[in-house]
């Protein structure tokens, strides 16, 4: 079987790309090789470590377990999208404050998993956060600092959302 090339349209971090890629490329490979978005890391390539986690159409997914072809027409968010206009995302800030990571190879997956969770339910309990993050492996930290950072980030996001909704009510 020779390589099959496919045309693929993909919106990544708000930018639309039309790419010609080999059908067997995973989304992770498309991001890293075709779009040079090397912030997404490949730790195991068989769906266990979670380092390659990105957000596809609003839901966290392992980009090593998804073919680029399957994402034709999708919106993908990667770690590169978190900081906007030089302003760090609250999750990034919280991780810096809590010394969340050491080597940080796993961090893109954790950050995007946390982003997806916080988008979904910023009032998640500590225990839920711990359980939800069990799909991301870290070999350096023993997790305490990552969980501390995640909890702090949820806190900030939850408060920000509440303030926003108060603002919206006021404006309405």
């Amino acid at each position: 079987m020779t390589a099959q090339m496919l045309s693929l349209s993909l919106t990544v971090n708000g930018l639309e790309h039309v790419l010609n890629v080999e059908s067997r490329r995973t989304l992770a490979e498309v991001l890293r090789e075709d779009l040079q978005l090397t912030g997404t890391h490949l730790g195991c390539e068989h769906g266990v470590c979670g380092a390659c986690t990105v957000i596809i159409d609003g839901a966290a997914a392992r980009s090593c377990l998804v073919l680029g072809a399957q994402c034709d027409g999708s919106h993908v968010e990667t770690v590169e999208s978190l900081a906007a206009d030089g302003e760090l995302h609250p999750i990034q800030r919280a991780m810096i404050d809590h010394h969340g990571f050491q080597c940080a190879f796993c961090s893109p997956g954790f950050l995007m998993s946390i982003k997806a969770l916080a988008d979904d339910d910023p009032d998640m309990s500590k225990e839920q956060i711990r359980e939800e993050l069990s799909g991301n492996l870290c070999r350096c930290t023993g997790y305490a600092s990552i969980l501390a950072g995640a909890e702090a980030a949820f806190d900030v996001i939850s408060k920000r959302n509440k303030l926003n909704s108060i603002e919206e009510t006021k404006n309405a």
Binding site: E45, H46, F101, R130
Partner: protein, 861 residues
């Protein structure tokens, strides 16, 4: 963040300089490196544990789309030199071997061919089409099989699979001590094989440039060691070429000496220091003349050619290593040699399956431990019989041989031990390479702390009392371990022990456990105390292996005032998660009186970093790099003050530096900043004896530091478990660490290191095991087989810091390895405590649920 910090940066959990880069996806790990015209590599690996290669045919594979070239072992041997171990143990058979298997494969995953293609995908397609015929040989999997003299050696030139057998006494003979002892205990312990498993696998990008040496982008713990190893092993000349070269260079001996001189000039203290190893090396060569030839050809490769034949190594962000990336990989050599041979840049990124098979295994040992003691538990002697399974190919440059000797030296731990007999057998087997893994000698702590519990129960004394009775206290310091190393007054294991017992309320434990049992709960508490050479007292490595100290003698740093007034600190340490960019900037900033932001810590690039073959390892960074950065920065500060005194027309003694400005004390308005000092330095002549700065630099300080008194890190860990005797599931309900690693540079960094180490120790006991079956087949090739613990398996870990007061400057000690050293002991001790009423004695370290139920008698094995 810094506004909150008044005065010293050292001692504060300063936020990491690394983080803004790493957390925005703009770090640069080796797989992120792309260079022009880059090809990709994949290895065809042996599916057999042990076999002769009878035929390789690459014809079809070479026709596979995108394949550029394929190298078999025989082909790569034409233009590379074999690995020749340089750290010999006396009497050890140390095989030489090529980067690819040439005639025989010796473990599952042994690289058989290297495929270079336009993409990794195409390279793997090509590898699938390489035809290899094997003739199976009897595999050696277990230590028992390796010791079986009826089985053929996997290295035909070795007499057996026992690579070395040594009997080393320390202190008086143990025979009479055991004969006269009140009580003796003997227990055989099994330490299973594990793997480092950093989240980033190994990898290398060899960048071939039109001019100048190749640049090797690598995930390595030691860029200089990798550079010189690649230079040594890649430059093999063809046989006719060799003869021509010999003829042309009849003065080769002189060339060799000149080359050696240039190496020594880079590292003066190496001269002579390695001498104790020479007789061993000579003996090795006498018994194996080919080894002498290979070594000589390696040296010629290293030295005969110009500088451009040696690569420059650039290591940037490293995704963890835990010891594994200190080993020069056979793949590194093969890929580098292929790139040079083809004059084409090549990337090789190990995949997880490869990393599990061949990326480094650790700790595969059987230990029979005998103790002689008084009725009250006072230890009189110890006899250790260590059998270590180092796999097929010894790690380069540091392998099992050296680690067996650290185990020996560390065997007494923090306890009084009048006599030690240490017998070692290192065996070869058809398994992956045994490498350093966080506390490579940790088995000494595990078996000793396990044994103390077993002894206490048998003697009817408490587990705390047996330790108190034997542990060296402050009043006895300084003293020496029976194995040689000095214990200075900061050796505070006993202090950490008492702190841990207090926090744990050990005295109340028996009653609490009894109460829990009446409620049907199976609970246990265990603890363990250890000391760790971090970096150890002066001469520590020579006590491990005579001559080894030459590699470990000192730690270099360059502290540079740049023309723009910023300061660069160049270190040979290769951080891979340890936050060196932050911690050494804290140290330098405090010494210089400048904000953190004015300091840039640089590492990993052999073109600019100071030379050392050690890299990151041995818990040396805290004490030795912390020290050399302190003293180098101080020297720079002196030079800055000299110049500022001229500029300010003030006395040097009246000057202070605050926030990067030099001024007379009390009159901050009259000041000069470092940029002004730099400008003045560039205008002025260099002081006599000063190192000349480079063009962009104003003042360059090049320092070395031998670590001074060096010293120890120590801690006591306490672990509580609850065991479900229906399912065998062990839950860790609490975990406490009381530790002393001297002054903390950055407490958050220290705590991260401790917790990370504990997590790996917990993983080792409950989840992680590298498995081969009896016939040598590898069974843990995915993350579904080799189980890294998740957030749900690692408990919260409480840390209590202790700092023994000292007047020693730069009183920092390493702390990265200790968590992993003590955790398996504390956890297995807790499990035994929980199951003690069932008569359970834990003598193996890996305890998955099924094993727990077998031990508890719930199911039959």
């Amino acid at each position: 963040m810094r506004e909150a910090i008044v005065g010293k940066l050292v001692g504060n959990s300063v936020k990491r300089t690394e983080d803004p880069r790493l957390l925005t996806g703009t770090g640069r790990f080796v797989d992120d490196v792309t260079v022009p015209n880059m090809a990709h590599a994949a290895f065809l690996r042996s599916p057999m544990p042990h076999a002769e290669i009878t035929r390789i045919d690459t014809t079809a594979a070479k026709r596979s789309p995108g394949v550029i070239a394929i190298f078999t072992g025989a082909e790569i041997a034409e233009f590379t030199n074999p690995f020749v171990g340089l750290m010999p143990l006396p009497g050890m058979y140390d095989p030489t071997f090529y980067s690819l298997a040439t005639d025989r494969v010796r473990h599952v995953g042994d690289p058989v061919a290297l495929v270079i293609a336009e993409s990794r995908r195409a390279a793997e397609d090509g590898a699938e089409l390489v035809e290899v015929n094997y003739r199976e040989l009897e595999p050696i999997s277990t230590i028992g099989q390796a010791l079986d003299s009826t089985r053929a050696p996997i290295w035909p030139k070795a007499k057996s699979n026992v690579m070395v057998s040594m009997n080393q006494p320390s202190g008086p003979a143990v025979g009479p001590i055991f004969a006269d002892a009140d009580r003796t205990f003997t227990q055989r312990f099994v330490q299973h094989r594990q793997s480092n498993q950093p989240m980033e696998t190994r990898g290398i990008v060899v960048e071939i440039r039109s001019e100048g040496p190749a640049i090797v982008h690598a995930a390595t713990q030691s860029s200089h060691a990798l550079k010189w190893a690649l230079a040594m092993m890649s430059g093999r000349l063809t046989v006719p070429g060799s003869i021509k070269e010999m003829f042309k260079h009849r003065d080769r001996p002189k060339l060799f000496v000149n080359g050696a001189k240039s190496l020594m000039a880079a590292k003066p203290e190496m001269k002579g220091a390695g001498k104790p190893m020479m007789p061993t090396m000579m003996k090795q060569m006498a018994s194996d003349p080919k080894r002498a030839l290979d070594l000589q050809r390696s040296m010629v490769a290293l030295l005969a050619k110009g500088q451009d034949s040696r690569p420059e190594v650039v290591a940037q962000d490293i995704g963890g290593a835990f010891g594994a990336k200190g080993t020069v990989g056979r793949e590194d050599v093969a890929v580098y040699a292929a790139a040079v041979h083809l004059q084409r840049s090549i990337k090789w990124i190990e995949d997880r399956n490869e990393n599990l098979m061949v990326g480094g295994h650790a700790r595969d040992e059987n230990v029979e431990l005998s103790m002689a003691c008084d009725h009250d538990g006072t230890i009189r002697g110890m006899h250790v019989r260590l059998d270590m399974n180092i796999g097929a190919y010894p790690a380069f440059p540091f392998g099992g041989g050296m680690f067996s000797q650290i185990i020996r030296v560390m065997m007494p731990g923090p306890y009084r031990l009048p006599a030690l007999q240490f017998d070692t057998r290192i065996v070869a087997s058809n398994k992956g390479t045994y490498v350093a893994y966080r506390g490579p000698w940790a088995v000494e702590t595990w078996v000793r702390e396990r044994m103390l519990d077993i002894m206490a129960r048998n003697l009817g004394i408490s587990r705390a009392d047996i330790r108190r009775r034997n542990m060296i206290t402050a009043a006895e310091l300084p003293t020496k371990m029976i194995t040689g190393p000095a214990l200075d007054v900061r050796m505070s294991a006993a202090v950490t022990f008492e702190k841990a017992m207090e926090v744990a309320e050990f005295d109340l434990w028996a009653a609490r456990q009894a109460e829990a049992r009446t409620n049907g709960k199976i609970v246990g508490m265990g603890f363990a105390t250890f000391i760790e050479a971090a970096p150890g007292p002066p001469g520590f490595f020579d006590q491990v292996m005579p001559g080894a100290g030459s590699m470990a003698a000192s730690e270099p740093a360059h502290v540079v005032l740049e023309s723009d007034g910023t300061v660069s600190v160049y270190i040979q340490q290769m951080p891979h998660g340890q936050s060196h960019e932050t911690t050494f900037a804290q140290v330098a900033a405090d010494e210089l009186g400048v904000p953190m932001e004015q300091i840039r810590v640089r590492y990993g690039d052999t073109r600019v970093t100071p030379f050392s073959l050690f890299g990151t390892g041995g818990s040396r960074a805290g004490a030795m790099t912390g020290g050399v950065v302190t003293f180098g920065s101080r020297e720079l500060r002196g030079r800055i003050l000299d110049i500022a005194a001229d500029l300010l027309e003030a006395s040097r003694d009246d000057l202070v530096v605050t926030n990067g400005n030099v001024h007379v004390a009390g009159t901050p308005a009259r000041s000069v900043d470092f940029a002004a000092v730099a400008a003045q330095a560039k205008r002025s002549p260099q002081p006599a004896g000063a190192v000349a700065p480079k063009t962009s630099e104003a003042i360059r300080i090049q320092s070395e530091y031998d670590g001074g008194e060096g010293g120890w890190a120590q801690s006591t860990h306490v672990c509580w478990v609850e065991i479900d005797l229906e399912t065998g599931v062990v839950k860790i309900t609490r975990y406490v660490v009381a530790e002393d690693c001297g002054e903390l540079i950055n407490p958050a960094v220290v705590e991260g290191q401790v917790r990370g180490g504990v997590a790996q120790g917990i993983g080792a006991v409950l989840y992680e095991k590298i498995t081969y079956n009896e016939s040598g087949q590898f069974q843990t090739g995915t993350f579904m087989d080799y189980l890294i613990p998740t957030t749900m398996e690692i408990p919260e870990i409480e840390i209590h810091h202790i700092e023994t007061p000292s007047t020693i400057e730069a009183n920092y000690r390493g702390v990265g390895e200790g968590g992993m050293i003590a955790a398996p002991a504390a956890l297995t001790n807790a499990i035994e405590d929980a199951l003690a009423h069932l008569g359970v004695i834990i003598t193996e370290q890996h305890l998955p649920p099924s094993r727990i139920l077998e031990l508890a008698g719930v199911i039959t094995p």
